[in-house]
Symmetry: C2
Subunit: 230 residues, 2 copies
C-alpha cells in the first residue's frame, strides 16, 4: 500500500477508536512507523487528512442513498439502504463525535458539510417520495422533512449514544447487532406513516434489526435518592 | 458574587460558546480577570469544574422531570416539561457536544453519567405511564423505551444538529424559537402513539413549538454533480 493510503487508513482507524481530538500527527506518524516529515510530505496537517476522509465518506453516502431505477421502491430497499447507512456512519464515526469543532476549525469543510447535508436531505425526501409512489407511505412534504431531520439525528448520533449511555465502559466497541439497532430506531418512527397495507411488513422487517439494549440498562437505579439529595 | 461561583458561571459561559475543548484554565482565568493561582485555589483542574457543572445540570434535569402529583397528567404537562428540558439542555449544551471525550477523561463522571441516564430513562418511562394512565397514550413497555431512547437522542443533539447543518455559520447562536423546535421534533414522533381522543390536542400543541427551518435549507444543491464526480 502507498504511504499516502496508509496514512489515510491509519488516521481513520485512530480517529475512530480514540477520537480525533486525542490523535496528533506525531501520534499518527508513530503509529504508522513513519517520520513526521514523511507524513507532512503527504499532508500539510491533520485538517488536510480529515478533509480527505470526509470526501471519501461523502462519496459513499451519496452512492448508497441512490434509489434503484426501473422498478418500484420497496420497504426492503429502504431498510437495506438504512443498514448500509449505519455501517458507513460506523466506518467514519469520528466525524460525528464533535463535528461542530471540525467545522469551526475548517471553514472550507464547514461549507462542504452544509452542502452535503442538503444533498443527503434531498435524497431522503426522494426516498420518502418513492415510498409514497409505491403506495407504501402517506406523508405530506412537511412530514417527510420532519422525519428526515429526526432520522438524521438518530443515525448520526446512535454510536455515541450507545457508548455514552448503554455500554458499561466507553472503551468498549459496539457489536454489529448494536450498530444495526440504529436502523430499528428509525424504522419504528417511520412505521407510523406507512399505509395500512405496508405497516405489517415494515413492523416485521424492523424486528430483524432489533437487539436488546434494555437489559444493559434495567438495573434499578437504587442510588437515585442520594443523587437527588447530593 | 463569590470567586468560586464566578468561576463556575464564567466556565459555563465559555464552554457553551466556544466548546469545552477550546477553553483552558488559563483562558478561563484571563476571561475572569483572576490569576491562574486563584482559580486553582478553588478547583484542582478543568475536570473538577466540569464535574460541578454536570452536578448542577443533573439536579435541574431530575427536578424538571418530576410528574405533578394529585391530578391526572396532561399533554400540556408533557409539552411544558419538554420545553423546560430543551432549555436546560441549552443552558448546559457544552456537555453534549463531545460527551464521550469527557467520560473517557473522567471515569468518575462516566459512572455518574451512566447512572443519571438510567434515572432520566426511568422518569421518561413514568411520564409515558402517566400519559397512558390518563387515557392519552397507548404503548407497550417496549415502545415506551424505544420512544424514550429516540427522544433523548433528538433533544440532546438538537442544538448541535442546528448549528452544524442548518445555520449558515457555526458561530451563530440559536434563537429561542429554534431551540423550541426540538420539542416539536419529539412531539411529532410521540403523536403516533396517542389515543384517538388525544391526537388532535397533541398535534395542535406540537404546532406551537414549530418554527420553520426548511427555508434555511431549501436552496437547490446545484453543485451536487461536481461533488459526486469530485
Amino acid at each position: 500500500m502507498k504511504t499516502r493510503d496508509r496514512i489515510l487508513q491509519g488516521s481513520l482507524e485512530l480517529f475512530n477508536t480514540q477520537g480525533e481530538r486525542a490523535v496528533t500527527t506525531n501520534h499518527l506518524a508513530a503509529h504508522l512507523s513513519i517520520s513526521p516529515g514523511n507524513l507532512y510530505y503527504h499532508f500539510d496537517n491533520k485538517k488536510a487528512i480529515i478533509r480527505e476522509l470526509y470526501d471519501a465518506h461523502q462519496q459513499q453516502m451519496m452512492a448508497l442513498l441512490k434509489i434503484p431505477e426501473g422498478r418500484p421502491f420497496t420497504i426492503t430497499d429502504k431498510a437495506e439502504m438504512m443498514e448500509k447507512l449505519v455501517q458507513e456512519l460506523w466506518s467514519h464515526q469520528f466525524l460525528y463525535r464533535d463535528l461542530e469543532h471540525m467545522l469551526v476549525e475548517d471553514p472550507e469543510l464547514a461549507s462542504q458539510h452544509r452542502l452535503s447535508f442538503k444533498i443527503y436531505l434531498d435524497y431522503a425526501l426522494k426516498i420518502h417520495q418513492a415510498l409514497a409512489d409505491a403506495g407504501l407511505q402517506e406523508t405530506t412534504e412537511a412530514q417527510r422533512r420532519d422525519l428526515s431531520y429526526n432520522a438524521w439525528i438518530i443515525v448520526t448520533n446512535w454510536i455515541t449514544f450507545i457508548r455514552c449511555n448503554v455500554l458499561p465502559d466507553t472503551e468498549q466497541t459496539l457489536s454489529p447487532a448494536l450498530i444495526k439497532r440504529g436502523v430499528y430506531q428509525v424504522l419504528i418512527i417511520e412505521q407510523a406513516f406507512m399505509t395500512p397495507a405496508a405497516v405489517k411488513e415494515m413492523s416485521l422487517l424492523a424486528q430483524t434489526y432489533y437487539t436488546d439494549i434494555d437489559a444493559l440498562l434495567l438495573r434499578d437505579p437504587t442510588t437515585t435518592d442520594s443523587l437527588i439529595c447530593a
